[in-house]
């Protein structure tokens, strides 16, 4: 037993573990003598999401959609321009709530296995011990926890503790990344493209491990990925992002079974076919994901949407409940003025 105990549950199962409201993050782009650029990357705009205790919320989208920015906002590696966050009932970074440091005890992140996800100058043990020691755990207890963590992720402690990152394969490094995220016994783990850089056979191993760890440690996951198949496999609910906004949100069966937003439909059909007799005949949409610097007015997807009409350019569709899921599309909002909408 050590002194750095996991944080207790407050508020019970009905209270969302994490609730983020109206998050906004814009990045200035170059130019200007004092760094005051004229252009702005609108990475995340007025985003509201909630993560229920014990669920896996999947976040999908292509480059420029802002999903990585969302991850960094939720763990406060970036400070939002606007918006609030509430963790299990406690407001974050506000006078009567918890501090950002306390947030980080409960919310951790697994990074993509890039060559720079682990400090090349530190041994695995030193990397894993860093966070607990920074929170006051004595060295001897930290050593025990490191061994415990390595065993949990399937790496034999005696073999791996004193190794350096360059001596490990991609899959092994990613296990270390996961162990590092678990070092503070968090409640919510944000996985930002955590399996994207891995070979498929290794990806399967790591996915199995993530599922086991979730049950064993009562974790909640926010799983961000561009790989729709993996998101479908892991998630309970799925959130689809496009250019800094949520376009569709709902239970995984609803999103994958009856996608309502044209972008979601396009994403799903863009997956390569696994059946050579049923090859894709036509690309679901043309063109590239646009630049988040100057997003289109109104509905941001309208420039690639085959059903775009006047109202789409004038009015931004709000995220609206339609049965099992929520969609931000005029076609699904009654009385919006779109020809395909209900009157």
């Amino acid at each position: 037993m050590d002194s750095l105990l996991p944080v207790e549950d407050r508020g019970g199962p009905a209270q969302p573990l994490l609730l983020a409201r109206g998050l906004r993050k814009h990045f200035p782009v170059g130019g200007g003598l004092l760094g005051r650029g004229r252009k702005v990357v609108r990475a995340v705009d007025d985003l509201t999401l909630s993560v229920a205790k014990g669920e896996t919320l999947g976040v999908v989208g292509e480059s420029g959609c802002g999903k990585s920015t969302v991850a960094r906002l939720l763990i406060r590696l970036l400070k939002p321009d606007r918006g609030t966050m509430v963790l299990d009932g406690d407001p974050v970074d506000e006078p009567h709530g918890i501090t950002v440091n306390e947030l980080r005890r409960q919310v951790q992140m697994v990074f993509q296995d890039s060559y720079a996800s682990l400090n090349p100058r530190l041994t695995i043990a030193e990397t894993l011990a860093f966070a607990p020691k920074a929170h006051g755990l004595p060295a001897a207890e930290a050593r025990v926890r490191v061994r415990d963590l390595l065993a949990k992720v399937g790496l034999e402690p005696d073999t791996y503790a004193e190794r350096y990152p360059h001596e490990l394969s991609g899959g092994q490094r990613q296990r270390v990344n996961i162990a590092r995220a678990l070092a503070l016994r968090p409640r919510l783990v944000i996985l930002d493209e955590a399996v994207s850089a891995l070979d498929k056979s290794v990806e399967a191993q790591v996915l199995n491990m993530l599922v086991d760890l979730k049950t064993e440690l009562s974790l909640t996951y926010l799983f961000i990925s561009h790989d729709l198949n993996v998101v479908q496999y892991l998630s309970d609910r799925v959130l689809v992002m496009y250019l800094g906004k949520i376009v569709e949100l709902g239970p995984v069966e609803a999103i994958y079974g009856q996608p309502q937003h044209p972008y979601t439909q396009a994403l799903l059909s863009a997956r390569p076919s696994m059946d050579p007799r049923k090859r894709t005949k036509e690309a679901p949409i043309q063109g590239d994901p646009p630049n988040p610097i100057d997003p289109p007015s109104g509905c941001r997807f309208r420039t690639r949407c085959p059903f775009a009409e006047d109202v789409c350019a004038r009015v931004e569709p709000p995220l609206t409940e339609t049965g099992r899921q929520a969609v931000a599309c005029h076609m699904r909002i009654a009385g919006s003025g779109h020809s395909k909408a209900a009157a």
Binding site: E62, S63, S169, G170, G171, Q172, D199, K200, S201, V202, E203, A204, Q205, L207, N208, V211, H226, D227, L228, N229, V230, Q232, Y233, V252, A266, L267, A270, R271, P272, S273, M274, D275, P276, R277, R279, T280, E282, A283, P284, I285, Q286, G287, D288, P289, N291
Partner: protein, 320 residues
């Protein structure tokens, strides 16, 4: 119909003072015009090294190779610099994973394509630019006339990849080598590029070798699929046979562990362990340490590629 490409018993090793990496350990296959061969493998399988060997793109002083690579009957491994210069870009073209680094950032796209056309086809500058514009149209780049004057960094990833395809096809090659060209692209762009490659292949009757680690991508573009592991082809079959009835334990493991529709709720069948260190020449079957069906004769000697049915080759003692 004679073969466009014949590779026989290719061995490629990289020698450094510290160690020797045996990247390719005996690869053989053929390719005809109008056919796409998908090479499927994970990192360290030797798929990219095989591809690059066809154009001899490896640093000469560090590379040791043996075997034979014949393009339209000519032996690539014997070619001198002049012959190689004619081969590259003109008879055989290649597209890469990262289009940003394939283009020179200080010249416009139009300039780079026109330059290639001028060099290989000997056309005048005006004609070369005209041809460049035709090529950009062919790869479905919108507003091709303006794009001729664009710099690589001004284009999106998908657009750059299309421009790279245009560059590759500028001199009417008969063989196109594609090294994971869609891996770095978003899903909606990836499918567009895959369809484009399929269409261009039909139109120009190209032979295409498409290297990828993604089974879905391989299935979309290939007529035949070769699965590589630890520097060898372990299975080679028509795409339908490979998907319906893979025979090598690695291929089966790969297909079983790839996440797709309808696997939700089931535990994934993961292949245990990791690919072998290529520092030593394999003595037995390279996959034996990870294989569910391993037997004593697997470790004794490396198995040969054997035919099991019509044009289905498997490198496993259990097959046939």
């Amino acid at each position: 119909m004679s073969n466009l490409l014949e590779v026989r018993d290719l061995h490629v090793a990289f020698v450094t003072p510290d160690r020797t990496v045996h990247a390719v350990n005996g690869v053989s296959f053929d390719l005809r015009r109008g056919e796409t061969l998908g090479i499927l493998g994970e990192s360290g399988s030797g798929k990219s090294v095989t591809l690059r060997s066809i154009l001899r793109l490896h640093p000469e002083h560090r590379t040791r190779w043996s075997g034979s690579i014949r393009v339209e009957g000519d032996e690539v491994l014997d070619m001198g610099p002049r012959a190689l210069g004619d081969l590259r870009g003109q008879r055989v073209a290649m597209i890469f994973q990262e289009p940003a680094t394939a283009f020179d950032p200080v010249f416009t796209i139009g300039h780079q394509i026109a330059e290639t056309v001028q060099r290989h086809a000997g056309k005048s500058e005006a004609d070369a630019y005209k041809r460049a514009r035709e090529l950009l149209e062919m790869v479905r780049i919108p507003s091709p006339a303006q794009r001729l004057k664009a710099y690589p960094h001004e284009m999106s990833g998908g657009m750059r990849q299309r421009a790279m395809i245009a560059l590759a096809l500028s001199c009417n090659p008969s063989l196109l080598l594609a090294d994971e060209p869609t891996t770095a692209l978003d899903a909606t762009v990836q499918i567009q590029v895959l369809l484009l490659i399929r269409e261009l292949q039909r139109e120009f009757d190209l032979g295409v070798i498409f290297v990828t680690h993604d089974i879905g991508v391989a299935v979309e573009v290939s007529d035949r699929i070769g699965v590589m592991y630890a520097g060898k082809i372990v299975e080679l079959a028509g795409v339908e046979q490979m998907v319906d009835a893979p025979q090598h334990p690695y291929s089966r493991g790969l297909l079983a562990s790839t996440v797709h529709d309808g696997m939700r709720g089931q535990r994934l069948e993961a292949i245990p362990g990791a690919p072998p260190d290529l520092g030593e020449v394999p003595t037995g079957c390279s996959f034996a340490p990870r294989c569910k069906f391993v037997r004593p004769d697997c470790v004794a000697a490396p198995p040969d590629l054997r035919a099991t049915g019509q044009s289905h080759l498997v490198r496993c003692v259990l097959a046939a």
